[in-house]
């Protein structure tokens, strides 16, 4: 790494260092804002997201008292973005949480027990890795009846193999530590050993990975909605709004651009948070950075 004194753009070096500390804060603040608005949606002084007014069809930003304009059916885009956040975040976060729990269980079973159990679990996962992630999600969601629950199920299923692989590596490393051996020697039962020592020590890398995945899952989940496999009209989520807006792309591009922008910002925020968590938890990367 170039050292800041010698490098002409050292000022930028400080700016970027500040951003490295500020970036995760901004990301967290943004997500907190979106989540708060989404939760408070029913009590906010905003229009009904399903209320279609033909006279406000594809209204431009700031016209007809609509801050962010109207969509192809004359519904308030701002209200739909806020209400849509509920589903868009839920279909990314809920599957990641469920998949993390399932994967911790599978990963610890494979990584700690090892031997035949490891073999069975990992060879089964190999089958899932033979599918591109998005293909499997589309196939599962496409076979089931479209709906939010379907989206959550589909995304959970495709996540489990990826998270389990991380959990298994993590659990395997923990299992070979001396404190595990010491606990076993002092007569801890398998249950206590797994719950009190293996789980808390194996979990952090898995949680970091899951946070980063949330970003990608916002994109994939909204993608399923975009294809019409998730939330059904007239309900709003960002992916479905992108698809709705696509119909009037020529006349009212903002109906497509705004919900897509929300997906990008949310995905960026989760990636930034995940990356910051990873650096905070990985002492190796800290040392490398300060050298």
């Amino acid at each position: 790494m170039p050292d800041p004194v010698r490098h002409p753009s050292h000022l930028l070096g400080y700016a970027s260092k500040a951003w490295r500390n500020l970036g995760p804060l901004v990301a967290a603040a943004f997500l907190a804002l979106v989540v708060t608005l989404a939760i408070l949606a029913p009590w906010l002084p905003i229009a009904d997201p399903l209320d279609a007014d033909p006279s406000k069809r594809i209204a431009a930003i700031g016209t007809h008292d609509l801050w962010l304009g109207g969509d192809n059916q004359g519904r308030d885009i701002l209200a739909r973005l806020i209400w849509g956040a509920r589903i868009s975040l839920a279909i990314a976060v809920a599957p990641t949480l469920v998949a993390t729990l399932v994967s911790l269980f599978l990963g610890i079973a494979a990584g700690y027990h090892g031997r035949w159990l490891d073999h069975i679990i990992m060879r089964t996962l190999d089958v899932f890795f033979a599918f591109p992630l998005v293909l499997l999600a589309i196939a599962i969601a496409g076979i089931l009846q479209p709906g939010v629950l379907t989206e959550i199920v589909a995304i959970t299923v495709v996540l489990v193999p990826y998270v389990t692989r991380v959990a298994r590596t993590s659990a395997g490393q923990v299992a070979s530590q001396t404190y595990i051996e010491a606990a076993r020697a002092s007569g801890a039962s398998v249950g206590a050993l797994l719950l009190r020592y293996v789980l808390p020590n194996a979990a952090p890398p898995v949680l970091v990975y899951a946070t980063t995945l949330c970003g990608l899952m916002i994109v994939v989940g909204s993608g399923l909605s975009f294809l019409g496999l998730g939330v059904q009209p007239p309900a709003a989520d960002w992916g479905a709004m992108v698809a709705d807006g696509g119909v009037v792309l020529r006349k009212a591009a903002h109906a497509t651009l705004l919900p897509g922008l929300m997906i990008v910002l949310a995905a960026l925020a989760f990636s930034t948070l995940g990356e910051a968590l990873r650096e905070a938890l990985d002492p190796r990367s800290n040392r490398r950075r300060s050298s």
Partner: protein, 316 residues
């Protein structure tokens, strides 16, 4: 090399069996009754039971799977419910379109990903690097279906440079230039996010190699920086770069699925989408299987390439 290929192919057999079983099971578990789908809602229970028997649906699931697999291996994917055509006839022309889009996107991913990665690594810490890093981070998070629409808005509707959809124009000659013209936007849409991720990872890989002793020696000898990066560092980072590109294949395939739908590109992804909308189960089954098979083969090719590039692993 040949032995390695044979070993890898042998290891693929159980995986592909698993894949086919999963695809088979997926349709078995689908809600709704196939006999109702074929005979209509008014069919009598008796007629349904007869059909179930003729189709072999009354037999244990493993027997059904074995029979299905026997047909699939013989290239028989059944008949499309929506079009009454043989599924394999629907699949074949789609495969070519997908390979064209996938190949073009892969080429863009490699060229832009590696070029941007190398350039930013060479100027690590500089202004160009920092700005590019931020842009790359944003591009890496762009949803392909949205990027596709944004590109259509900008380059088809505003500037009218490229067509909005399809693979050949109705009025055009349908020749190579026509297809290329239609290919630009979907390929860029598909390649954008993977290229960004490749750029970031290639940058890190080159920076890592640049810290090694043999690079310092070359530098001390006075070898020009450009030569060091392009010849010395690149050669050593190449296996890592191939691995990095390989890791993005899943992402690239996913992006292509969305691109095909957004741009009505007549490939396997669009076939999958239309068959899902029409609940055409045999076509869903066949297109999922076909895409997964292409994916597995591409990954195998990347493994082989890596093997050829990195002789160190040859005895392992």
């Amino acid at each position: 090399m040949l032995l390695f290929l044979l070993k890898r192919l042998a290891a693929l057999v159980p995986v592909l069996l698993g894949v086919s079983f999963l695809v088979f099971l997926m349709v078995e578990l689908a809600p709704g009754d196939v006999t109702t789908l074929l005979l209509g809602p008014l069919a009598s229970e008796e007629a349904k039971a007869t059909l179930r028997k003729t189709l072999g649906l009354d037999q244990p699931i493993l027997i059904q799977y074995a029979k299905w697999l026997e047909h699939v291996l013989g290239g028989d994917f059944g008949v499309s419910i929506a079009t009454s055509r043989r599924v394999v006839d629907l699949l074949a022309p789609r495969l070519l379109a997908t390979v064209i889009l996938g190949g073009a996107s892969l080429a863009l991913t490699i060229v832009f990903g590696v070029a941007v990665g190398v350039i930013t690594a060479a100027r690590a810490g500089g202004l160009v690097d920092r700005v590019t890093q931020s842009v790359v981070l944003v591009i890496g998070n762009l949803p392909p279906y949205w990027l596709g629409l944004v590109l259509v808005f900008a380059f088809s509707l505003q500037f009218r440079w490229f067509p909005t959809s399809g693979m050949r124009s109705v009025s055009g000659n349908g020749g190579v230039t026509d297809v290329l013209n239609h290919l630009v936007l979907p390929a860029v849409t598909t390649a954008a996010a993977p290229a960004a991720v490749v750029a970031a990872m290639v940058r890190a890989a080159i920076i890592e190699v640049m810290g090694l002793d043999y690079i310092r020696v070359a530098r001390a000898k006075g070898v020009p920086r450009r030569t060091i990066i392009l010849k010395h560092a690149m050669r050593n980072a190449l296996p890592t770069i191939v691995t990095i590109i390989g890791l993005q294949m899943g992402y690239l395939f996913g992006g292509a699925l969305f691109s095909e739908v957004v741009f009505a590109w007549p490939g396997l992804g669009q076939l999958l989408y239309t068959s899902i909308v029409g609940r055409d189960l045999p076509v869903i089954q066949a297109s999922v299987l076909a895409i997964a098979l292409v994916f597995v083969l591409v990954n195998l090719a990347i493994d082989m390439l890596n093997r050829a590039l990195d002789p160190r692993g040859q005895h392992a």
